[in-house]
């Protein structure tokens, strides 16, 4: 049984159309993004299997890709994923304080999700926006913005805005 919605399948089809017919596997990254964005921002095992079946590739090929990339979440996440960069440039510009402030405001540590299921906080490697360090990325349903030149005040405003 296909648990992927009609809408999802249509979106995946647009990607498979870009590759030769027998090379559907090429669309696996795009398909996983689409499925994740339509399903609360994380990928249940059944969804991975469904992607494999839809693309007619071995399930293992999907597990390998999904577990390789950190942008795919294989465990339940909050509605908003807050990715704080703690790489060298941000570190020099005070990312430690940024992380601390997030942790204080949300009452959770890095890698955790708030009990109300709203926020997931985690550290990520360089977001390629060093010119505005320290930065973080706020993701919701696969879409999101960079928040730059972070200060405690900015973080407060940001979190207010997400409520």
């Amino acid at each position: 049984m296909n648990i992927l919605s009609h809408e999802i399948c249509n979106e995946i089809d647009q990607w498979t159309a870009k590759f030769p017919k027998d090379k559907k596997q090429s669309a696996v990254l795009a398909a996983l993004h689409i499925v994740q964005n339509h399903n609360d921002g994380w990928l249940r095992r059944e969804l991975l299997d469904a992607v494999a079946d839809y693309l007619e590739i071995p399930k293992m090929a999907v597990y390998e890709v999904a577990s390789f990339y950190s942008m795919f979440d294989l465990k339940e996440t909050g509605k908003y994923k807050i990715n704080v960069c703690t790489n060298i440039s941000c570190l020099l510009r005070g990312s430690e304080g940024v992380v601390k402030h997030f942790e204080k405001r949300l009452g959770i540590s890095l890698g955790e999700t708030t009990p109300d299921g709203k926020f997931t906080l985690r550290e990520v490697e360089c977001l390629a926006a060093c010119v505005n360090a320290p930065v973080c990325q706020v993701l919701c349903k696969g879409k999101g913005d960079y928040q730059v030149d972070l200060t405690p005040e900015k973080i407060d405003t940001l979190l207010e805005g997400l409520k």
Partner: protein, 746 residues
């Protein structure tokens, strides 16, 4: 490809462009250490162990992924090379637990060897090592994934050789692990090869786990005894016990692989062994006797039956896994007794059929075929190595057509697949012939077709078809020595009339024949039943009058002829258990007692020499095709229309139930539990119609037999048919393997 010359360590080597450096080095006995490279797998170049210095290259290069060029100068022993290899070794050992004292791989471990040969004695890594949560691959393969160095040989083997990705590499960097990701048993019939492939102690044989150390073992060459491929084995023994079996390379047959059945069947060697000749006395009690007493008893009994009822009342039912020598001596004995009743095609149900076993091409030629037609052949189960070669052909572009009575899963694309009930099978083959696209194909008539009640019609249809299309016609019956048995002794006409005396050689009457019920009756009503067998069971004790313990697989010398007609001799690896004797010795002495002339054989080689002077039935001679009469046009189908609520029975022998040895192999049978081979398999629609559900307890009725079983929904079975696995307790209680079954709800 152009001939070029390269220089490795000052040695000038002529070779062809396009080859990888490591290949050229291997061909010239220059050893370069490696973990991830394997000649049968694609190049991954991820372990970096094979780094070597190449002139003009700024850094050392991986020999497995560096194509050779004209004038290339390679240094496998230079300081730069050795430094690189030492650095790689240190790197690979960072996360390795170094638990060699408690690791089964210790003593046969590439990581251990290379660490000694190419590594250094200390490490600059003082941080914590990672540990990996272990996976469970099922009863055959033990895992200790913390030891894994992620060479990915097992992953590539699955993808490329097996065609099924049961194992993969998930996670990234420090967190990468090899495993099944979702817990499940690895089920492929050749999956055990990953144990041989794993260069470290991450993948190990579960039945062998903690049983012995590599340096305590002696390795003997042997030949696999379950299918007609003749896979080359290495049998490892310790103090007279077979401890394990691994693959031995033979490029033209099994390459570097063996099937799981061949690898794990040795586990049955210690079960239910008969260790002393026994005679049943008048009160029905079994009495242990000496060999001379037992054999004199047998000789007298045979002569008595012959005198009283005639020689053709003495029948021999011999296992097609018997050695050539055993089959030949039985043939000579029977000729001396003037009986023609010898049979080894015991699963066939069509009395008109004479199987002419043989592939008729060399085994390695399978992969070069353009078109392959599998007729009633569960090749993956019956001849796993041949199935692997068919897959290779398919990957090279061959068209594979399937006509069968059960849908078998294949790990390649089929050009066409026709699945019909047994009663429609002959018609489906006739229709299949109408397709005009099968010129120069390889037509394989497998066990399911050979066991069909109209097998003789199918045989002649296919034979004519093969002649018309200039194709090769192969018949692949069960057994390791079907061809050898055929060559020394034409099978007797099959009839189901009871005889007065029976010799059972290596068979279990309730499991190894098409009609267990009938044979059981015949045996019980016979005056004399002699069972020559390595194993004893309650049923053998019930039907036999004399039990003679014979040597099992690995305990006797002998010869098998594989389906390609190649003759492979092997020697015994361990002594037979107790008083058991090699089959040929038993028959030699029995022959002497019966005064068979020229029967003083000193060894199995002696017998083979004598056999060379005998006329054998040629299997692949050109007149085989003409000898098979064409009866297709007029041949009467024996299929009878069933009653309304009857289902057509299909029976095939699963690999773990195919002979007396594998039936006793614990791990193989444990793995097969998931296939529910003791259940009655029907299609979901059949179940629906009969209002049955999966797991439901039922009574099944065939002729006079009523048996309790349970339903397994299996959509590989055609609608209106029922699949019952052969060699099972369930099938043992039933009659003919082809026929009609009624399912009654409890």
């Amino acid at each position: 490809m152009a001939d070029i010359e390269i220089d490795i360590d000052g040695k000038k080597i002529k070779t062809q462009a396009g080859k990888m450096l490591i290949q050229v080095a291997d061909e010239n006995d220059i050893y370069i250490p490696r973990f991830c490279y394997h000649k049968k797998l694609t190049v991954a170049a991820n372990c970096r162990m094979c780094l070597v210095e190449v002139e003009k290259a700024p850094k050392t290069l991986p020999a497995c992924a560096t194509p050779v060029n004209d004038g290339m100068k390679v240094f496998t022993q230079s300081t730069k090379t050795l430094e690189s290899q030492r650095a790689v070794m240190e790197f690979l050992l960072i996360n390795h637990p170094l638990d060699c004292p408690i690791c089964d791989q210790g003593g046969q471990c590439e990581l251990q060897d290379f660490s000694l040969g190419y590594g250094k004695d200390n490490s600059s890594y003082n941080e914590e090592k990672r540990a990996v949560v272990n996976d469970d691959f099922g009863p055959l393969i033990a895992t200790e994934m913390t030891r894994c160095i992620q060479c990915t040989r097992c992953v590539r083997f699955g993808k490329e050789i097996l065609g099924v990705q049961e194992i993969g590499a998930t996670g990234r960097g420090e967190h990468m692990q090899i495993g099944t990701y979702v817990k499940h048993t690895v089920t492929h019939e050749m999956s055990g090869n990953i144990i041989d492939l794993c260069p470290v102690g991450a993948l190990l044989s579960k039945p062998f786990l903690y049983k012995a150390r590599a340096w305590e073992l002696k390795a003997y060459h042997s030949i696999a005894s379950h299918d007609g491929v003749g896979s080359h084995l290495s049998v490892h023994t310790r103090r007279g016990e077979v401890m394990r079996v691994t693959a031995r390379e033979n490029e033209t047959i099994n390459e570097t692989w063996i099937s799981d059945r061949d690898r794990y069947s040795y586990e049955g060697l210690n079960q239910d062994r008969l260790t002393q000749p026994c005679i049943k006395d008048e009160t029905g009690e079994w009495r242990e006797v000496t060999w001379p007493v037992a054999l004199n008893f047998v000789a007298n009994a045979l002569e008595k039956v012959k005198a009283a009822h005639g020689a053709n009342q003495i029948g021999a039912l011999i296992s097609p896994n018997s050695t050539l020598e055993e089959a030949y001596l039985i043939k000579r004995l029977w000729r001396h007794l003037e009986s023609s009743q010898i049979n080894y095609n015991l699963r066939q149900t069509d009395p008109r059929l004479t199987v002419v076993p043989g592939l008729n091409i060399p085994i390695a030629e399978i992969e070069n075929q353009q078109t392959i037609v599998l007729v009633g052949s569960h090749l993956r189960n019956d001849q796993p190595i041949l199935a692997h070669l068919v897959r290779k052909a398919a990957l090279k572009g061959a068209k594979v057509h399937v006509i069968d009575m059960i849908k078998h899963p294949y790990h390649f694309d089929l050009a066409s697949e026709t699945i019909v009930k047994p009663s429609e099978f002959v018609a489906a083959i006739r229709e299949g012939q109408a397709q005009d696209l099968l010129l120069h194909s390889l037509i394989i008539m497998g066990e399911n077709a050979l066991n069909h009640p109209d097998a003789s019609i199918i045989q002649s249809l296919l034979n004519k078809f093969a002649t018309d299309t200039q194709s090769i016609f192969a018949q692949l019956p069960e057994g390791a020595n079907a061809v050898g048995c055929y060559q020394v002794s034409a099978p007797a006409e099959r009839n189901h009339l009871p005889m007065k005396a029976y010799l059972l050689h290596g068979i279990e009457p309730e499991y190894d024949v098409a009609n267990p019920d009938q044979l059981q009756q015949n045996l019980l009503s016979a005056d004399m039943v002699i069972a020559v067998t390595p194993f004893v069971s309650e049923n053998l004790k019930k039907v036999a009058k004399v039990l003679l313990p014979c040597a099992a697989f690995t305990e006797t010398s002998g010869t098998f002829m594989n389906l390609a007609g190649e003759q492979h001799s092997f020697s015994g690896c361990v002594a037979p258990k107790g008083e058991a004797r090699p089959g040929w010795k038993i028959y030699r002495v029995l022959g002497n007692l019966l005064d068979v002339p020229a029967f003083d054989f000193e060894s199995s080689e002696d017998i083979l020499k004598s056999l060379d002077h005998q006329e054998r039935q040629q299997v692949s001679s050109p007149d085989v095709h003409s000898r098979l009469q064409y009866v297709g046009a007029t041949g009467q189908s024996s299929a009878v229309m069933p009653h309304v609520n009857q289902l057509e029975r299909i029976t095939a022998w699963p690999d773990c139930r195919s002979d007396s040895l594998v039936r006793r192999a614990r791990a193989l049978n444990q793995r097969a539990v998931e296939t529910r081979f003791e259940a009655v398999h029907i299609h979901a629609e059949t179940a629906n119609k009969l209002q049955l559900i999966d797991g439901q307890a039922v009574q099944i009725k065939q002729d006079q037999a009523h048996v309790s079983s349970e339903i397994a929904i299996n959509n590989q079975v055609p609608i209106g048919a029922v699949f019952i696995a052969g060699g099972t307790t369930l099938a043992a209680q039933l009659g003919n393997a082809a026929g009609y079954i009624e399912i009654i709800k409890c």
